[in-house]
Amino acid sequence: MSNRREFIKQGAQASLGSCLALSVFSSVFESCKTAALTGLTIEENEISFHLSSFGSKKIIFISDERLKDEVVIVKKKDGTYYAMKMQCTHQMNPVRYTGDSFFCPTHGSTFDMEGKPTTAPAMRPLQRFTTIESGTRLIVKLT
């Protein structure tokens, strides 16, 4: 019995300690996140970068402090692109990419790769942005 009690105590302390350490360093790591995109320009309502940035990748995330929200850009099999806001449509919390879908850690909503909701409570798709291919560049309209 005492072992289990000790286990709880140590587990709780370890969890709390981990969270504290992660929180303290969060702001430091925040500034380290830069998207490695060629020729990236960010204006008030527009993102632009070289299509070569995709390389063999099928998905790119743009996380920049000049943007209000993280943006994900997906390259489709037919070579076209679509962009979405990484924000849950339930209660505006950020969504995370899980590898094959998007997940809102706050209330558990999930979205497929096209942004369609697959698990409640979210009922509406992720917001999409218009993408325009202009020569060798991709332009994402944030309005």
Partner: protein
């Protein structure tokens, strides 16, 4: 623990200074529809559920509007929002029952894109149901017993919470919160911690609690660990001394440790959860209040569901999930020497049923629960009624219900 609190305050202050940008509310948001380009806007949402319950063993049945909830949200600016959730249980409130209560009422401060802080009455991330309790999000009419008996969902307290993405990782999220503590006088083996919650009303503030969670997600798997530890005696030292209890910030501690894992793919939903509550000073609490406080409670469940409509149409938008859930609840897992074991508090049950979702936000449910418990301890029956119906240790309950959220 003081060191822990100091660190927490320091990190919150540090993050507050990093206000960079805030999320924009989207027009698609069910709560914040239309807020994106307009500041100072107030909107509403809600959820509710009703159920017909028939205890086939006892031949008793009733029907009830279990709950109806109204969300009200207001956006003050890009960085600051208000959220509230007001619930009416059992349709009306009078001397015979029902409840009108605020389940959430907090301000949310967006520190930067990946971190936000909430202050007020909020629901900490402990278990699955506590934070995600809309009827459209879980199988069955009744929430899992483990998440009502062991984790007293919906468990909300007053405090401050920091939430966000673990730095340097795209697969981990954290929560860290300080909230008011519990009331040791109301802890017992039958109701667990449920009656010991303050739920935002005049909570004792000499005792506090810290709760934290880590949530990881990788493809179709999600794994969560959460913990809670806090004081349960908020009396003034003189009063606590007279009861021989330790008061103060973390005096007479109550701790909870929980872990869960879930899987969702191709129409399958599989979940498992384990929760353990430890109250090392239960003997002292019993000596002071004679409330039969347990030293340890635990519970676990595992459930699996499959959308059978996918058998006919792989890309269907509708959902008719056939599910099964096994639960084990041990309300008096460990009792102190001055506690009374009541085997009725230890039970297991199997629930099987169907959840039908014709479109997002609407659910129709049908399920059957078979439960098996120990017998009530006769020592706890002070004046037994001579013609009392014998207690049934094995019971079957049929439930039919509807739920919605918008």
């Amino acid at each position: 623990m003081r060191t822990v609190l100091c660190c927490l305050c320091a990190c919150m202050i540090s993050l507050t200074t990093n206000f960079v940008s805030a999320q924009v509310l989207t027009p698609e948001d069910s709560l914040n529809s239309g807020l994106e380009s307009k500041e100072h806007k107030t909107l509403i949402g809600g959820y509710g559920e009703a159920a017909y319950t028939n205890n086939l063993t006892l031949e008793e049945a009733h029907i009830n509007l279990t709950r109806a909830v109204i969300f009200i949200g207001h956006r003050f600016s890009d960085k600051i929002s208000f959220f509230s959730e007001m619930e009416i249980e059992d349709a009306k409130v009078d001397a015979s029952g029902g409840e009108l209560a605020l389940e959430q009422c907090f301000l949310k401060f967006q520190l930067n894109r990946n971190h936000f802080l909430t202050a007020g009455l909020f629901i900490p991330r402990l278990g699955i149901i506590n934070e995600n309790h809309l009827p459209t999000t879980y199988f069955g009419n009744h929430r899992p017993f483990v998440e009502t008996k062991i984790i007293p969902s919906t468990w909300r307290e007053l405090g401050v919470s920091l939430n966000g993405k673990v730095p340097g990782s795209n697969r981990l999220d954290y929560t860290l919160a300080i909230v008011n503590g519990l009331n040791a006088e109301a802890i017992n083996a039958h109701d667990g911690l449920r009656e010991a919650r303050f739920e935002g009303r005049d909570a004792s503030a000499r005792n506090l609690a810290v709760t934290a969670s880590i949530l990881g997600y990788w493809n179709v798997f999600k794994v969560q660990l959460s913990a809670y530890t806090g004081g349960s005696v908020g009396l003034a030292p003189r009063s606590a001394d007279s009861l021989q209890l330790e008061s103060g910030m973390f005096g007479t501690p109550v701790s909870l440790l929980e872990g869960n894992i879930s899987y969702r793919k191709h129409g399958w939903t599989i979940k498992a959860l384990y929760a353990l509550v430890s109250i090392p000073d239960a003997g002292s609490i019993n000596r002071a209040y004679a409330n039969n406080c347990p030293e340890q409670m635990s519970g676990w469940y595992a459930e699996a569901g499959y959308n059978i409509l996918r058998l006919f149409n792989d890309s269907t938008k509708k959902d008719l999930s056939l599910f099964g859930r096994y639960e084990s609840v041990r309300g008096n897992d460990q009792m102190p020497e001055n506690g009374i074991v009541n085997d009725v508090n230890n039970f297991s049950c199997v629930t099987v049923g169907l959840n039908y979702t014709p479109l997002p936000g609407v659910v129709v449910k049908a399920d059957l629960t078979y439960s098996e418990s120990g017998i009530p301890n006769p020592q706890l029956q002070i004046n037994p009624f001579p013609q009392a119906i014998p207690f049934e240790t094995k019971q079957s309950v049929l439930r039919l219900g509807i739920g919605y959220s918008f």
